[in-house]
Amino acid sequence: MDYSPELDHALKTLRQITGLTMDVKADTLEEEEQALRQIQCLCSAYQEKYNKTHFLQGLITGTIASYDILERAPRLHITKDEKRVLFLLKTRGTLDEAVPEILKNLFPARTKSYLVPLTECSIVILRPMKSCETEEDIVKIAHTIVDTLNMEALASVQVAFSSGFDTLAECSAAYKSAYLALKVGNLFYSEQTVFPYNRLGVGRLIYQLPVSLCEGFLHEVFGDEIPDALDEETNSTVTRFLQNNLNIAETSRQLHMHRNTLIYRLEQVEKQTGLDLRNFEDAMTFKIASMVMNYLQTERNS
């Protein structure tokens, strides 16, 4: 029998998710539309009740009520109370079909990890955390995901992850934190590929500030002449100096630079900005100000 494309699609979906094959006898257009609605209702009712992915998608996006979680999770054999971590994986383009396949094999079903496709370029991995696992282990897993997908699928990916959480009801909050980590990570640490929610540092604070407040802060630090950006050489020198806890000897060693050259460069920064980076408070102000400058520049560029 010839059906309208919508009805044909609905019947195929029904067969795909339930295994049921159905014929529709409709004499009028009205009857056909009614049949279509009923089949669609059947599909969504079935998915709501039996489809794990559908349930987890709802859980992650926060569209399932907490009483529903308690009822549906056991039916789908998903443990309600278990320490888990949520990885949010984003590919540069559309998700290659090899990516979920590789992830399925990296996190086999018996490990009680769940892969939940979200959009055409993002996927969530819900993974149980062992009691002995530390955040360092999770960072390593995230790097392993990135490197394995780079190597096997030749796919460019970034991974953000939430803190550990104990119940399924916290899934939505965990997703939001991983999503925020991805966003803030891209803004402030875009050269990296792994973004732990717990290590966003000042970046998270700055991201949540209104632009006007950021501009006001820069005026306060630099006066009317806000530098667009420091030259690259100075920038990398200062970054390394801050990373080394303002230690001149260590920084000059790492940069293979004479200590006097380093001191000269720091003095140039002081001349330019009025901030003596050898002083902790000035160094802290400088660090925050340079992050704010980068943030505003990225916002302007986007």
Partner: protein, 370 residues
């Protein structure tokens, strides 16, 4: 296999961070090229741009003469081995190696041929039925290599593949990779921050700092004729000794004064100082630890290059001894024969092999004499 050309490659991230600047390099077919430099110098970023995992902000990347800037990674005919590889825990070694090809729907008999050939090259034939948990660290690493080899790519890209292995295994795997390069005749680009790895594996080494290529040369040339202070300090362990020295030209004689020590510059080095107008200027004098001698015979033959100091630390490493001492406030290291009688606290006399010294411009940090 393939040749690569990187012309004026740049990488600028959206947050303004300029990770790679004007990177130019031609890589010949079958070369083993090493990118080396301190962390954050842009070596991995460059590799990832070659792989297509990062967008190229500027410049042109060519593989076998074809522009690759906008070609998808999977269409570049490359294979990668990275630091944090994972083997599929429930699959055998065979399946781990075959998995990538299965995903690409390569016919079964072809997969079998490629996997067995890779296993033969990597000496994994007897382990094909084992699961990853039954393998040692080195064997796992070889499986990861096998997954790259079965692709039969034009170029292998390796990013610190040995970093997660312990020191002993790293040395073993270094030899394996070297053999692999010979057996496959492959073009390999290898990223490391470990200069020993760089010196032992590479046919040519690219030294990078702050996103800029400092020098591209053979390991021997990098060691003997570094182009600037950074390369001189980065290549070699223990690193080259550096001291500030004042140049004095008197007629045809040129001397370097380091505090109270006056060192006579040999004929082979002095012309560059005279021609460069360095008379009266401060330069940086560099000398490798093995060119600082404590033997009486050498000291007697080199009266114009003698320095005196007190030994701060004596370090016996079996086949050699490192002596640490200060000269005019700068710490120096001498690598000497273990039969030396010098010990911590002793007053010592050393002579520098002035034919082996390096002199750098203090401002530009570029070499004057190489």
């Amino acid at each position: 296999m393939a040749s690569l050309s990187l012309k004026g490659i740049e990488k600028v991230y959206p947050n303004g961070f300029h990770a790679v600047k004007d990177f130019n390099l031609d890589i010949d077919d079958k070369e083993f090229i090493i990118f080396v430099g301190p962390s954050g110098c842009g070596k991995s970023t460059t590799l990832r741009m070659i792989a297509g995992l990062e967008d190229i902000s500027g410049g042109v990347l060519e593989i076998d003469g074809k522009k690759m800037n906008d070609v998808e990674p999977k269409d570049r005919d490359i294979a990668m081995v990275f630091q944090n590889y994972a083997l599929y825990p429930h699959m055998t070694v065979y399946d781990n190696m075959a998995f990538g090809l299965k995903l690409r729907k390569v016919p079964k008999d072809e997969i079998d041929k490629k996997v067995r050939e890779a296993a033969r090259i990597l000496d994994l034939e007897k382990l094909l039925d084992r699961k990853p948990k039954a393998l040692s660290g080195g064997q796992r690493q070889r499986v990861a290599m096998g997954r790259a080899i079965v692709r039969n790519p034009k170029v292998f890209l390796m990013d610190e593949p040995l970093s997660n292995l312990d020191a002993k295994l790293r040395v073993q795997m270094r030899i394996e990779i070297s053999k692999l390069h010979e057996n496959l005749g492959a073009t390999i680009i290898y990223v490391t921050h470990d200069q020993t790895e760089a010196m032992t594996l590479g046919t040519r080494i690219v030294v990078m700092k702050d996103g800029v290529v400092q020098q591209v040369d053979t390991p021997q040339n990098l060691y003997n004729t570094p182009c600037n202070l950074f390369v001189a300090g980065f290549i070699g362990s223990p690193q080259m000794n550096f001291m500030d020295a004042v140049v004095k030209v008197s007629g045809t004689d040129v001397t370097l004064t380091v505090g109270q020590h006056v060192l006579k510059v040999p004929a082979s080095k002095k012309q560059a100082l005279i021609n460069g107008g360095y008379d009266g200027k401060t330069v940086v004098l560099g000398i490798r630890p093995e060119d600082v001698h404590d033997s009486q015979a050498f000291i007697s033959n080199s009266p114009d290059s003698v320095i005196k100091s007190k030994i701060k630390v004596y370090e016996l490493l079996g086949a050699e001894v490192f002596l640490y001492f200060d000269v005019e406030g700068t710490q120096m290291t001498a690598r000497v024969n273990p039969r030396t009688t010098l010990r911590t606290g002793d007053d010592a006399v050393f002579a520098l092999d002035m034919e082996k010294i390096h002199i750098f411009d203090k401002e530009t940090e570029l070499t004057i004499t190489n």
